[in-house]
């Protein structure tokens, strides 16, 4: 019976083989080194009857091994010990690369385990030692014993298998780590990057590229680049060229249209090669220029393009700090804006200021000024800081002159629209200033400070509406330029200065009333404001009257200077329809008086214009030759071939108020035509015959009714 129960060597060998087979089969199923090592150790202890065991495994990039797995052993006794590949038993196994029995007491570190016998085998990566497996104290029913040579062979076989599995996992971990590293790098870089495979399908893409392409990652990955960039033929051509010719292509400022989003990018397409230098796809890098554009655009609200470019090229200019230098400072201020704004709605105040500032700042940048501040309705502009040129002061004066001149045109528009004109005074000074980026690191502003700045502000206060006042220092810089003229003014005493300051008023061309500009502005005003429901009193009718007025006036040998007044009256003769159709002539005359006064139109001629407007009232009552001309022009169509069109338009407009029968309309026309006479010889000759034909036709129609 007893022999029946004996565990024979054959069974043990069978168990060893099965265990080795299990280890071999299972090793490739592990994907974590710690799990693999623990499993190997436990099974090794079991199959070789070891009472306990340890696996020491390499630390990356050093000769030190750490405990990778332990079984049935108190590892606290080993805590803090350094297992060096080059010392003790591990050093010996590092050299021999063979499993062997060891006397634990011989090793100062392992002896702390209180174990007696050991069996050690190396884990190798090619020929390098990456770790060791140590089993302690072989068990038997008679007690603990040394391991046998056969045990060493078995452990060596297990360790060899384990080494392969360990190196595989390590390799996979390294690949994963490299992939994660690459992914992180890819995802963190602000340049959009994607790769395509040999099929042209996009197989990797980073976050920045997704943002540029403006599609979900799912809609990009796996799709052909021609599908993803179907609206961007140029991009697909670049990638195709790179694929076919294996060349790197770079293009700048390409407009990318993706999914409704436009982005300007710099793009680079390079072939992707494998280790054998065979193409495996392409890598595309796209630099989104939107942020740079936004930065430039924001910056350009404050400084000229030239200075933006200088600052972007040389960021040292952005350092906090300051320097003393010469600069020219321009201040401008709207005269009476506070009282003006009191009569305006808040949105109108903002709209007015924005329109005004847009116009002014465009001029400032044209002359390379740096807009330092907008203080309410005032502007402070610097010339010569951060970078100075010989033209700084000249540019400042040119800016001031153009600001005043452009404002005249700007005001024409406002006047036509019955808005108060904007008047500004400008002061310019030149002198030493402290310039720099002043503020905190969170918010800094480039500005200039100093006495010279204060004086420029004082000069602006001295300047009356439409005036440009400059200091002696400014005039000294520009007086040699023939284009500038000045008027010497009495030196003024300004706050903060003991002595009166020598000042000059810069003269500029203040144009007289500009007829063409006025025509243009009135036409725009009519176009926007004439009631849409009118079919006769339209902008086309006004334009016709203007054309006929000029034609008749020329034929009537009217002086050119008066012809432009007649045209002005023609443009204005129906403007009153905007407000009061019933008394539109009177309302138009009032409007004309108001705007012409503001537009510096000679006062003596305003009555000429209003007289012409009033003369068009039916029945027409011209009191002079000019009024006759505009009256004839207003009804010129009565003797023209397009009479029917005009009369139909008039009927439609009348019927907005009162419905007429065809007969009633014919009767009205007959009555009107019979009562009407042209006043000028020119029109009588040209239109009377045809007008009579029209009348006869209407009378014939009436007879048939």
């Amino acid at each position: 019976m007893a022999s029946e129960f004996n565990i024979n060597d054959l069974q043990l060998k069978y168990l060893e083989l099965e265990t080795l087979l299990d280890i071999t089969n299972e090793l490739n199923s592990f994907d974590q080194i710690s799990v693999l090592l623990q499993e190997i150790l436990v099974k090794s202890c079991g199959v070789l009857n070891a009472s306990s065991g340890l696996i020491l495994i390499e630390d990356d990039n050093s000769d030190v091994l750490h405990i990778g797995a332990d079984f049935n052993i108190d590892i606290s006794v080993l805590k803090g010990l350094i297992f060096n590949k080059r010392k003790g038993i591990i050093s010996e196994i590092n050299e021999s690369r063979k499993a062997r029995n060891i006397e634990i007491e011989d090793d100062s570190f392992l002896s702390k385990t209180q174990c007696k016998f050991g069996l050690i085998a190396p884990f190798l990566d090619k020929k390098n030692l990456v770790g060791v497996i140590i089993l302690f104290d072989k068990e038997s029913r008679l007690g603990l014993s040394p391991f046998h040579d056969a045990d060493a062979n078995m452990l060596s076989a297990i360790a060899t298998q384990a080494s392969v599995a360990y190196n595989n996992i390590k390799l996979i971990e390294n690949i994963k780590e490299a992939k994660t590293f690459n992914d992180n790098v890819m995802q963190s870089i602000v340049t959009g990057v994607f790769t395509t495979n040999l099929m042209g399908e996009i197989n990797h893409i980073n976050r920045a590229a997704i943002a540029i392409i403006n599609l979900d990652k799912e809609n990009v990955l796996g799709n052909h680049y021609e599908y993803v960039f179907e609206s961007n033929e140029y991009i697909t051509q670049l990638i195709t060229k790179c694929e076919l010719e294996s060349v790197t292509i770079s293009e700048s400022q390409i407009l990318l249209e993706c999914n409704g989003k436009s982005t300007t990018v710099n793009i680079s397409v390079s072939p992707l090669m494998n280790d054998s230098n065979e193409p495996i796809g392409s890598v595309v890098a796209m630099e989104d220029l939107s942020n740079l554009d936004k930065l430039k655009s924001t910056f350009k609200k404050y400084v000229s393009k030239q200075i933006v470019d200088q600052l972007l090229e040389n960021d040292e200019m952005l350092n906090l700090g300051g320097q003393e230098q010469e600069a020219t400072i321009l201040f401008s201020d709207i005269r009476g804006f506070t009282s003006m704004s009191e009569t305006m709605a808040p949105n109108e105040v903002v709209e007015t200021l924005n329109d005004y500032f847009n116009l002014m700042i465009e001029i400032i940048f044209k002359y390379n000024g740096t807009l330092d501040k907008i203080i309410g309705d005032a502007l402070m502009v610097i010339y010569g800081a951060p970078n100075s040129t010989e033209q700084d002061t000249e540019n400042a004066v040119l800016t001031a002159i153009e600001m005043q001149e452009k404002l005249i045109q700007f005001n024409q528009d406002r006047i036509i629209n019955l808005k108060q004109p904007i008047k500004i005074g400008i002061g310019i000074n030149r002198g030493k200033v402290i310039s720099g980026n002043i503020g905190s690191k969170q918010q800094m502003n480039f500005t200039v400070i100093g006495d010279s700045v204060n004086l420029a502000s004082r000069l602006c206060s001295v300047a009356a509406a439409d005036e440009i006042i400059v200091s002696g220092a400014v005039w000294k810089k520009v007086k040699y330029l023939k284009s500038f003229k000045s008027k010497k003014l009495t030196p003024v005493k300004v706050k903060g200065k003991v002595k009166p300051i020598e000042i000059k008023e810069i003269q500029y061309n203040r144009p007289e009333f500009q007829y063409e500009l006025a025509y243009e502005k009135i036409e725009q005003f009519l176009l926007l404001n004439l009631p849409q429901q009118y079919t006769y009193h339209t902008i086309d009718h006004v334009r016709d009257v203007v054309i006929q007025s000029e034609r008749i006036a020329k034929k009537e040998k009217i002086d050119k200077s008066i012809i432009q007044d007649i045209k002005l009256a023609a443009w204005l003769h129906d403007v009153g329809y905007i407000w009061e159709p019933q008394r539109h002539e009177a309302r138009g005359a009032e409007y004309a008086t108001a705007i012409l006064n503001e537009m510096k139109f000679p006062k003596s001629k305003i009555s000429l214009i209003t007289g012409m407007i009033m003369a068009t009232k039916i029945p027409q009552s011209p009191k002079n030759h000019y009024e006759q001309i505009i009256c004839d022009a207003d009804l010129d169509y009565l003797g023209r071939d397009d009479y029917d069109t005009n009369s139909n338009n008039l009927l439609q407009e009348i019927e907005l108020v009162k419905k007429l029968t065809p007969k009633e309309w014919l009767q009205i026309q007959e009555k009107f035509l019979k009562a009407h006479s042209y006043f000028t010889t020119t029109t009588q000759k040209l239109r009377n015959q045809n007008k009579n034909i029209v009348l006869n036709k209407i009378q014939q129609q009436l007879k048939n009714k």
Binding site: F5, G46, N49, N72, E139
Partner: protein, 113 residues
């Protein structure tokens, strides 16, 4: 009670021993000590819950065989349940399953023993 034995209970006159850790010389001796003590008290049926024993060596197995020999002398029985696959395989290779039974559950074991 050694660390290897985590609990001893009785169910239907069957002593159920719960183990934890390596069933080696030490573990085996711990089990045999409990079994022999209970045998001295008249118990003859034993069941080992090996849920927390993931590895066994041949010495542990040989101690279990010694226990089986002793139990056979008094018509006793021993069984096991909750075996890890490697433990079950080892029991099988070492011939242990010829003289004792591996059960799926405690209930099945109690009903059979």
């Amino acid at each position: 009670m050694s660390d290897f034995i985590t609990s001893i209970k009785e169910n239907n006159s069957i002593v159920i021993i719960e183990t934890n850790g390596y069933l080696n010389n030490v573990g085996g001796e711990a089990v045999s000590a409990v079994v022999y003590e209970k045998m001295a008290q008249g118990q003859t049926k034993f069941l080992i819950n090996m849920a927390a024993t993931k590895i066994v060596n041949s010495i542990g197995v040989s101690i279990l065989i010694e226990i089986i020999e002793k139990l056979q002398e008094v018509n006793g029985k021993i069984g096991y349940y909750n075996l890890a696959p490697i433990v079950a395989k080892t029991f099988n290779i070492m011939g242990l399953t010829k003289y004792s039974t591996v059960y799926e559950t405690e209930e099945a074991a109690v009903n059979d023993l």
